[in-house]
Point group: C4
Chain length 362, copies 4
């Protein structure tokens, strides 16, 4: 097993520094799994490209900035910055502490944490070490409703404060990079919260094997009736899906293309976000993921209609490079960058951020 | 002779993997011939670029996807996916089995197969081994109508079920890559269905040497009167040509720029497709080729007006790398990718695919 | 200490030649400091890209060009070309003569010179050797108004003819390149005009640490009342800020994004310039910096509404490569390039330059 | 002296092949001179890019193509294709035969030839060996009208059939590449038709040194009165300049940015061409240069309003690589490519080419 770093390497001052170093410390196949995307990676790259294309509007000499803050309140809980750690599967691939490391880093930095159904630590273990961290449980609906409900009940019992249902990955996506690298879960890393991973049904097509057991709108409606926790829907990329979800009583949406890992050739999330916000109006919380790498990206997502973002792969990279300390460092970097961006664009609070704080190129 | 692989190399999971490996196993001059394009390759690259630029619209939680299928019916025959193997010349350049390999792979995977006039196997040999494969005969009109008719009659006699007339290559195109590599057909590979290749007529210009004997609209009209088989016209890139062809009783069109091999600086086929569909209305079948490398490309072509696609160079690459098994593998990859794309965009059948399943960037 | 060149190396004929050579003669950390930009450098690159995108309109056979000149008058002083050396901090990093070299080069070439608050030479030393050079003093407002005023009074006493207040850098920006290189001021280079650099206030955020002591509009209003010198505001990127500055009696604006060193993801200055000019009308002087590398860039800035430009990093590069002679050479190169551009676009004077001397791409 | 090739190297089948090989056979400084462009080469690259961006409209099954031809008539003389060799200076830099080689190649291939004022062979020597070649004389107006007139009279006496006045290079342009390479004319290569090159006048600016002696509209008007030969104006990039030239009785225009060698940041000529054609109407001949490398480029220029093109640097490259034979080969390649393009776009003659033979991207 590779040597686990316990301090932050010199010269690491941005999330991209963690990414570069992660590639060096991880095995080729784990790297392919983590960094890889669907098919040719067009959507993965587009997620970044379109964030880079959003331009900021600097303002000068603004009054009252000394009292500024980037805190954000979500479902009644205040976060130090509008960010949660995304529900990443199998975090022990990056570090023996796995999810226990990331939830502790989240607690230390005052951000939220989403635990994946495919976590390599149990729902209860994570709850135990999570301190004050806002904890959500990410749910992959299982082939049987019984099994799905069991997961929800465990999350409720362990004090998770919201359920986030992922709908954009009924199948795995065509992940050529990890196929080429021959990735398989190593000994000791598994989905410990499930009795077993879902298996394909009999059949000769993607439809027959997988889609027959995939959740649909009826599943969501049923689930809404099973819990009083806030229920968020993750993977919303079409305004009509957003509207339908709200009609079912969903409490929040996550605009996500799964980091470009499921369906290649999709638009970036930052392109889709304004359409979703416009479709549902100003009230319901929207989160965004896929491509956030800078505090200024958070600023841009807020300006275009999000309430917060989820941070995915960089958590893995930081975990691999410097354990829980690395993740905490990443979160602090993002907060500093977000605050600097806000200060330079004349925003003393998250609610000051909007379309008018972007530069419009026409 | 190089060693013929009889199994699929490890790590090969996309058509691009076959392409990279084909470059390693083929001689430089055969590679230049197969992979090359006209002049500077702008159109060849644009074929891919513009397919990549088409964006997909993901949908979630769709009902009834378990019964989905990507089957498509064309001229009364059902294909496992909307795809035929393109009429590639001289397939023995890639593998001693040549066309016999590809037709068998097509049969195994339930797709169609087009035999080129310039095949290195005879019309009859291919028919013999083709099993249930939907077989079409691609016709290059010969300088004499008599010779042209002889080819048609042989195809009819051998049970080919459609004739596909190529109109976009009255001359060879300016293929600098193969000129630089000094490509020439090796011993044992030739156009065995012709007595001889057409020779230039006397003259000092492209016009005098080649265009005097090239087919024109009168040729097509004559040909239409000679056979009751469905007759398709390949190489249609202008709406007026599409309309004129239909007026002559043509049964289907192939939007093609010959993989960028004939006239460089043309638009991509995916750009032209919607104009052709709009010009001729919804009924007549349109096929598209030039650049298909992913199941999602098939989805995009269908969404923009095609009924099916032709698969060209990748067949050659797979044949070179792993023989008939390689081609069958490619076809299965494409089907899996197409089904995954359909499932993720909420399409349970080919007829569900349309403009609304694309993301429109404005 | 590295060897100081006293002549211009062979083959150096453009500002980019100085840049390439400067990277060779400077230490890695000083290079990172000088050449670096905020975060990922998008704005830094965009400054150049958008200047390159502006197209010139050539004219031929124009009459009366023999009497042409690129002189420009600013606040009653005539410059040999519409250019001042930007207020670069710590010029002794590049050369032991530091600011004394650049002011002498400015004098020799008839351009203006701005002395930075963070200069490594004193206000008075620079004044002493500056000859006929038009000298301005760049002011970073200090945490205490007393200290700020002391700087203004010293500049007035030493004969500086304008004050240029920088408003776009209340914080340092996220400069990863210099952080990675571990840049720190070496022994012997410091901000000699200040008792001490401003220190962060107590607090846990960018807002608390830095923004409480940053200048605001009230600071500017106060400052306006303290001096009769022309007062310019640097870092204006929003039309409303321009208008507000003028309402306070500011005499000129500098459209600047600080060379992309403070807030990444901003637009380029050349994109913003026309909006600022349109907002304030034709009269008040506007300067532009960030990306000027060619005489044709000066032409483009003038055509889009500027009265003059500031030249930043290239001064440093030339100073590092060939001392004061190098800077003078750069200034002469820019003048020759500007004159050539004017001559070829049919402009015999700066006032002939305008929108009509650009090619409009639509 | 390097070995002069007397045959065409294997694998050379396009103008770009000559370019690559020329770089190998020429000295670095001559290569820098020939291939170099003004400043950063933006316009040089844009000339190619914008030609590449023009898309062709293929047509199929066209009738009557066997009698096609790409001949073009210009000022009553028929050319085998609509092309003249551009007035390139100092062709002996590429080959000891210099201009004598290129005029003979032009004669052999039936294209026109323009002799530069800065030729390294005399007006009379070229006339002597030129056979049936259409010969034009390119005139740089000299500081004295007497000297200018002497050149015109020599050209008339030697049977040149048109005068082409270059107006876009009153100064040399900022040619950094050749400055860096230290280019100077070698022994034995000089402007043999001039007593001496024009020298700068006294002064400290581009204006004073060069523009006082540059030709203006009065010079052109005077020149028009001095000769009955067709008079063409080269370097027209603004519609108003085109209109003014016609008002003075000019017989034809050359849209040119001097191959990007004089003023960088200009638009490409293919962008400007349609505006010039629209400004002056359909009758007066327009030629275009700067970037022609393929027969399809000639087709595009004709489609957008040109009557013919000039071929510049490639002549030099071919001359360097394979002497007069190389140039003849290039000309034949272009003709074959043009004919192939015409045949595939359904144009049997130059007059069939127009806007409708391009694909419009919107």
């Amino acid at each position: 097993m590779r040597n686990i770093m316990t301090s932050i390497p010199a010269g690491v001052c941005s999330l991209s520094d963690y990414e570069h170093r992660a590639q060096q410390v991880l095995s080729e196949s784990v790297w392919a799994y983590l960094s890889g995307a669907a098919m040719d990676g067009h959507t993965h790259r587009r997620n970044r490209q379109k964030l880079d294309d959003v331009l900021l509007q600097q303002r000068i000499l603004c009054e009252g900035m000394g009292q500024g803050s980037c805190q954000q309140t979500l479902f009644g809980r205040t976060l130090a910055l509008p960010l949660l750690i995304a529900p990443l599967a199998y975090q022990k691939l990056a570090h023996p502490m796995g999810e226990l490391a990331s939830v502790q880093a989240a607690a230390a930095q005052g951000v939220g944490f989403c635990l994946s159904t495919l976590a390599s630590s149990t729902i209860e273990q994570v709850a135990e070490v999570s301190g004050q961290a806002e904890r959500w449980f990410q749910l992959y609906c299982q082939p049987s409703r019984e099994e799905t409900l069991r997961l929800v009940r465990r999350a409720e019992a362990a004090g998770y404060s919201a359920i986030i249902v992922t709908a954009d990955a009924p199948i795995n996506g065509v992940r050529n990079a990890e196929q080429r690298a021959g990735f398989a879960l190593p000994e000791g890393v598994s989905a410990v919260n499930l009795d077993a991973l879902a298996k394909p049904q009999q059949g000769d097509s993607v439809f027959a094997c997988w889609m027959g057991q995939a959740p649909d709108w009826q599943t969501l409606e049923w689930l809404r009736g099973q819990t009083d926790l806030p229920l968020l829907l993750k993977g919303v990329m079409h305004p009509d899906d957003a509207i339908r979800a709200i009609a079912l009583g969903i409490d929040g949406l996550v605009v996500s293309n799964h980091g470009g890992r499921v369906l290649d050739s999709q638009p970036s999330t930052i392109e889709v976000l304004p359409r979703i916000r416009q479709a549902i109006g100003p009230n319901l919380p929207i989160l965004l993921d896929s491509g956030i790498r800078r505090g200024s990206d958070i600023f841009k997502a807020i300006a275009l209609g999000a309430d917060a973002v989820l941070l995915g792969r960089p958590v893995f990279y930081a975990l691999a490079v410097a354990g829980p300390l690395g993740i905490a460092h990443c979160l602090r970097i993002l907060r500093d960058e977000l605050e600097a961006t806000m200060a330079l664009c004349g925003c003393a609070s998250i609610t000051d951020i909007g379309r008018h704080t972007l530069f419009h190129n026409d």
